[in-house]
Symmetry: none
């Protein structure tokens, strides 16, 4: 524990300096979605590389077909566990800029928060791990675990080159467990371990009828109307009780255990204010499950877009030529994206009336993931968070998908601990993004302790 | 017959000029459904007024609460019959514009056809009557019948101000018979008198959910998705056998008589080439009825437009905020538009899931109509058509709706001769609308002869 104490002391003594270094990082407008910021993207990659080296890692900038990936590593002891840390140095566009109180790339501390684009997502959270590693190497001369650190520059625009990087460096990247801080606390002062994410499949369906829009008076009743038909087809994806009706859809779904249901039921969740924030009068979904269960641990099928025929002002009396639906399903363990995609095809084909042509365009899907919370890595994370924040973490799932987590599972065959230091009220992707400095310091300390507890294994 | 010969000669000598004048008319983008075209609407009304004056009528532009009605009249002989002619100067929106070979408002003659939005519906067909009257007045100095000519600008968006105009000018508009060319020939070289039309009701439904699009990972499964829900609702308007499922929809439907079924079965109808012309593999519709019966004498329910959520490229994982459907039903005797509209509302409300808000916007409705073909005016029309086209007309019904026919019956108490010069393959309401110049010239001649035969009465 002597090592851990000196690490803590180092962090305390250098806390102000860490914030100043983070501010320097935040001054770089590394917006990956807009090619006008290409120079800033390079600058940000260099900054991360320098920080990795300052933290004692062997670091390099690895070119890709898009923005480079910064990679750093340090082998402490071949017998110790190897941790793979992931983060990203790119940020969301700052628009609408006029809604920011202070400019997005001129970080300012107000009321205990650091305001800037990327303050939480992901520069600030990423920085906690850089600083915790630096604290170990500079105060103790070593690290309790082996570290492999990947920081990409395309998370906000599709991570198009990440999988290729993971595949190309499969052996070099071999690790026992991954750590990512790109999620949120469950609430203020409620740090969380996110142990589950839903997967996703996306498919676009186009139904074609006559070769052009037809007069509905002259032709209505003679042939199938693709808009009526597609509405009927996609209208039968989910029943009136909110259950998905695609045959086979639930075949591989792992039921929620009684233990987990009890645990989710214990989480504070104010349904009235949840609904008010969405502007909706009532919840709706699969019968027999709570709202949190439906959002996190049950699969869904949403039509994200639907269009066909006339959309202008007033009526237009046509039988439209075609109709298109964009469909995504959120998946849970052990649903297989390919099997679900095939089930959607089979089902929609079975519902298609005669005389119409059905076309599918499938996008890449990913599996859901749930980390075993009974393992020693999860136990280490719980202890580290309690040390950093002064309270035990809650264990939550999230309804969205984080493709990198699926990639790490599929390509490197490792699980991920999702440790969120920020809050979902930190205005991620919105104007006035900020990071509570308290969360930054607690997170850095939790990170430092995590390396210690992981090594205890 | 000397007069008729000089009229025919005038038409022959001026046929090219008539086409050029029609092209000038077609250059005016008089789209009534979209307020962006208000200036073009005024221009079109002025054009019609000028043409009426050129034809020897006393003409004026009569303001309404919407677009103006152009009215022209000429009393030839108080003892002669009075004919009321109706047409419309507004056209359907040209969307999708990218599907036109030449731009919709740049008329071009190709392969004996004049291509432009409105070429047939209704500028071209309306023009035959303007030109036949001009031929009479300019070649003989008079007209065999008294003429009252109404050309409105709101036919394609509900004719909202026409009934008011008819009511306000009931006495001035008194006539013996109405003539409208806004229908089609039965086939090439098979001019038709249309004795039956379907009615119509139109209604727009918007279903609102969350106040903005939501992340489908974070919120999917928690609340009702308005696109899924609206698809399911409008997908249940028609069943898999093509029968409309709105409760009460068929209550007032007059069955087709055996005599009429026999007559319809005698009309030549090549289903294979019909389907090929539409680019469809099979017919589809209410079981137990022939395709012609379903198009002309059975009611339908078509979704003309449906939209909600994301329509761009690729996937977007949202629960959309709202969805909208544009619905029209074609009606047959004795269905009542108001009763059917109410039945749609009641049915869709019964299908709406909790937490969503349903909004209706109802548009124009009109009853179906069927005319008596035993009268002397119908006989005059048969002779005139034979003179113009060289063959006797067939007697048909049409699936479309012409609300003015119902209004003329109800308000002015006159019957209407529906004389179609165009073809139902002329792409009415579709890209590449056109009018065969042969039909234009034959129709103009038939129109000129009609005034003669009507006076023979």
């Amino acid at each position: 524990m002597a090592a851990l104490q000196s690490v803590d002391q180092f962090l305390s003594e250098n806390s102000q300096q860490s914030v100043e270094q983070l501010q320097e990082f935040l001054r770089i407008a590394s917006v990956s979605a807009d090619s006008a910021y290409a120079a800033e993207m390079e600058q940000a990659a260099q900054f991360v590389c320098d920080e990795m080296q300052r933290a004692g890692l062997d670091a390099e900038i690895v070119p890709t077909d898009g923005y480079p990936i910064v990679y750093g590593e340090k082998t402490a002891d071949p017998a110790a566990p190897t941790v793979l840390i992931y983060g990203h140095y790119d940020v969301q566009p700052p628009d609408p800029v006029e809604d920011w109180v202070t400019p997005p790339f001129e970080p300012e501390v107000r009321n205990g928060c650091l305001y800037a684009r990327g303050a939480t997502d992901n520069k600030g959270q990423l920085f906690t791990h850089l600083k915790s590693i630096e604290a170990w190497t500079r105060s103790t001369g070593g690290l309790p675990v082996n570290v492999k650190f990947i920081v990409e520059g395309e998370e906000e625009c599709g991570s198009n080159n990440l999988d290729r990087f993971l595949q190309d460096h499969r052996e070099r990247l071999a690790a026992d467990i991954a750590v990512i801080s790109d999620t949120s606390q469950y609430g203020p002062g409620m740090p969380a371990i996110t142990y589950g994410l839903r997967g996703v499949v996306a498919c676009e369906v186009t139904l074609r009828g006559p070769k052009q829009d037809l007069h509905s008076g002259v032709f209505g009743g003679a042939i199938a109307n693709p808009v009526n038909a597609l509405a009927a087809m996609v209208g039968r994806l989910v029943d009136e009780q909110g259950k998905v009706t695609i045959p086979g859809f639930y075949d591989d779904v792992q039921p929620i255990t009684d233990e987990e249901r009890a645990q989710l039921a214990n989480l504070p969740f104010d349904e009235a204010s949840f609904l008010e924030s969405l502007g909706v009068g009532e919840t709706f979904g699969e019968a027999g499950y709570s709202t949190l269960e439906r959002r996190w641990a049950r699969p869904t099928c949403d039509v994200n877009g639907l269009f066909g025929g006339y959309q202008g002002e007033g009526p237009k009396t046509i039988v439209p030529a075609s109709a298109t639906a964009k469909i995504t399903c959120r998946l849970v363990p052990d649903q297989d994206p390919e099997r679900i995609t095939a089930a959607i095809h089979t089902y929609l084909k079975s519902l298609c009336p005669p005389g119409l042509k059905l076309e599918f365009t499938d996008q890449h899907g990913c599996r859901a993931m749930v980390v075993d919370m009974g393992g020693t890595y999860a136990a280490a994370a719980r202890k580290a968070i309690e040390a950093g924040f002064g309270v035990a973490p809650v264990q939550i799932r999230e309804g969205g998908s984080i493709p990198v987590v699926a990639s790490l599972r599929e390509i490197l065959e490792i699980d991920t601990l999702l440790l969120g230091w920020g809050r979902n009220t930190d205005n991620l992707h919105s104007p006035n993004e900020h990071f509570h400095l308290e969360d930054f310091h607690h997170g850095t300390r939790a990170s430092a302790h995590l390396w210690h507890y992981l090594a205890e294994k």
